[in-house]
């Protein structure tokens, strides 16, 4: 093991230890938010791989999560499999869909790929998740109900044992995050980044475009699916609405907003996406200083996402995390230079 690997695993374990304590003692709704934050965190993490590393645009990441959620729900409710099997099947379904979406992406990039993936998100939202032809997969109008499950001996359900689900999700999230950073440093990561910078140059240098583009889509869909497959478990049921086309657009928007090239931005984005709407609907109405009535509804969240995205793309092209990181690195560099009295470069 390289020293870098050890440091990364140590950081991940410390992060897990701290974050696992965070929602303890909060009420059930906030524990749900914490778990949901990780599910959307996986969604943005998948975008970091696909867009940040490999430079492929996608507006259908919530679709991958949704397919995995329905796959897991179907396995547990209709085939009476264990939840672990449900997660595996969900991830497999999402990965297969990822490869299918990756096929047209072999010939497309940029805005045309954005159009295709938006179309896919809309087809799944309006057709696959809602049409009666697919009732075997979606469980009909009511969706699948999942009351409780056993994950490797850990009892998990959507009411009393939400924290267990959160802990499992968090452990997986930390693990996948470390693997993502390792991927970034590896040979495969360098090839993906070469594709991002220039497909022509990458293929001239001997990068197999077909293999690595499909690999990026498959891994990305698998990561989004890993988060999504936990959704029925923490919500108790699965319905089309959480995975509709606007969630995909929000994932893309928040991913870019937070900094789509950086793994920690995914955690930040997931937290933002899960907690802010709930806080708004809970505390967004009342009276300020006994005089001004205010009523900030859920809709303000998406307005904020849109406006912040526009401002960020004009002012901070590298995203919130990217900008913070650059400032920190700059400050550290300045602090290191000072004692040596070097002229600033």
């Amino acid at each position: 093991m390289m020293p870098g690997h050890i440091v990364r695993f140590a950081v991940a374990i410390v992060a897990f230890a701290i974050l696992a304590r965070l929602p303890v003692g909060l009420d059930q709704a906030f524990q749900f938010d914490a778990a949901l934050a990780l599910i959307w965190g996986f969604g943005i993490l998948s975008l970091v791989l696909l867009t940040g590393y490999a430079g492929q645009v996608s507006l259908c990441q919530a679709t991958f999560a949704g397919v995995a959620a329905y796959g897991a729900g179907m396995t547990v409710s209709s085939m009476h499999g264990g939840y672990l099997l449900g997660i595996v099947i969900g991830v497999v379904f999402a990965t297969i869909l990822g490869v299918i979406v990756g096929l047209p992406a072999l010939r497309l990039h940029g805005i045309t790929l954005a159009i295709v993936t938006l179309g896919i998100a809309l087809v799944f939202d309006r057709y696959v998740f809602q049409d009666h032809i697919f009732d075997w997969f979606t469980g009909g109008t009511g969706g699948w109900q999942v009351t409780s499950a056993d994950l490797l001996g850990i009892k998990v359900d959507s009411s009393q044992h939400l924290l267990a689900a959160y802990d499992v999700l968090l452990a997986l999230f930390c693990l996948v995050s470390v693997l993502m950073v390792n991927l970034h440093q590896s040979g495969a990561g360098r090839r993906l980044r070469a594709i991002r910078d220039s497909e022509v140059a990458a293929s001239t240098m001997g990068v197999n475009l077909t293999r690595y583009k499909l690999l990026a889509f498959a891994m990305s869909a698998g990561i989004a699916g890993l988060g999504g497959s936990f959704y029925p478990l923490i919500a108790g049921s699965v319905s089309p609405q959480p995975f509709w086309v606007f969630t995909s657009l929000q994932l893309a928007a928040i991913g870019v907003l937070m900094g789509v090239r950086y793994v920690p931005a995914a955690a930040l984005g997931g937290l933002f996406m899960a907690v802010v709407p709930d806080v708004l609907t809970r505390y967004g109405h009342g009276t300020f200083m006994n005089r001004f009535n205010y009523d900030i509804s859920f809709d303000w969240f998406q307005i904020a996402v849109g406006v912040l995205l526009i401002l960020q793309l004009i002012l901070l092209p590298d995203g919130v995390w990217g900008d913070m990181r650059a400032k920190l690195l700059h400050a550290r560099g300045a602090a290191q230079r000072k004692p040596a009295r070097e002229a600033p470069a």
Partner: protein, 298 residues
């Protein structure tokens, strides 16, 4: 046979809407290089402004046709202002950024407009459509009644398409717009005001989107999301025209309208037409050229 004819009429009017919406997308894309994912949302917002005037405001002593005219006028004026505001507040600042960055910004615009509208007009509420033409007017053609609204849509779509083509071809400003769409730098060297041309194309594009939005209200489940998501069908029509050609775009719009309507004779499904739109998008993108579209820079 009469079923077929009836569906043809529905398909043509739906196609007229797609053609209109796609025209606006192509216009903005060619002149400013922005692929506008918020086009449906812009049309939706202006349509709801017109709807608010039509149903929400008191109209003492006005004839019904005058109320319609007032609502449409205010809606279209609002659309032009919206286009201008977006150009000045957002897109002027990102003129030289990569195409995909500009496209992602339009997603921000889409999300903002969509949730502002759902904040004001509520998302799940049933909205009455705006009728342009009298509801009771029908003509029998080969045993099939044709409502006035269908005729109006097809006429407006074709009229606007030809009008826009004539404007681009025969007026000085239209020539300036074509010059900017070919090459902004050389156009500015020839004294064309690129900023003005960009602002006008945003205004015109937004106006056309609003026309499409107002015309479609009698035919769809009229709420904030369905109009916003019309963007996928409009993009499909625009892609048939290669994002550059106006005549092919209009043709593509009508074709897509028919393609989406005929299967509903056998398949009763709200979502199935979206699948057809996606298949059309894929077919166009994969058949047209190995590296995507000719007009699409990387």
């Amino acid at each position: 046979m009469s079923t077929f004819l009836a569906y043809t009429i529905i398909g043509l009017s739906l196609g007229g809407i797609f053609a209109l919406a796609a025209l606006g997308i192509v216009l903005i894309y060619r002149v400013t290089g922005v692929l506008n994912f918020a086009h449906g949302a812009m049309g939706m917002f202006s349509t709801f402004v017109a709807w608010q005037i039509f149903y929400g405001w008191p109209h003492p002593g006005l004839a019904p046709w005058a109320v319609t005219a007032e609502a449409i006028t205010v809606g279209l004026l609002f659309a032009m202002v919206l286009g201008l505001v977006l150009e000045f507040a957002v897109f002027r600042w990102v003129r030289n950024r990569p195409q995909i960055v500009k496209a992602v910004i339009t997603i921000g615009v889409l999300l903002t407009l969509q949730s502002t509208a759902s904040l004001i007009w509520k998302n799940n509420q049933y909205h009455l459509p705006i009728y342009i033409a009298p509801q009771d007017w029908t003509r029998q053609v080969a045993g099939v009644p044709i409502g006035a609204n269908y005729v109006v849509i097809v006429a407006v779509a074709l009229g606007l398409a030809f009008g826009l083509a004539a404007f681009l071809r025969y007026t000085a400003f239209g020539r300036a717009m074509r010059a900017v769409s070919d090459n902004p730098t050389s156009a500015s060297l020839w004294g064309v005001r690129v900023d003005t041309v960009g602002a006008v194309s945003w205004m015109l594009g937004s106006l056309i989107a609003a026309v499409a939005g107002i015309l479609i209200t009698p035919f769809i489940n009229f709420d904030t999301t369905s109009l916003t998501l019309l963007i996928v069908d409009s993009l499909a029509a625009a892609l048939i025209g290669g994002l550059v050609s106006l005549p092919l775009t209009v043709l593509g719009g009508f074709m897509l309208g028919l393609l989406e309507t005929y299967p509903t004779i056998w398949i009763q499904s709200l979502g199935f037409p979206r699948l057809i739109a996606l298949l059309v998008i894929l077919a166009v993108l994969i058949v047209r050229s190995p590296r995507g579209l000719p007009g699409v820079a990387k």
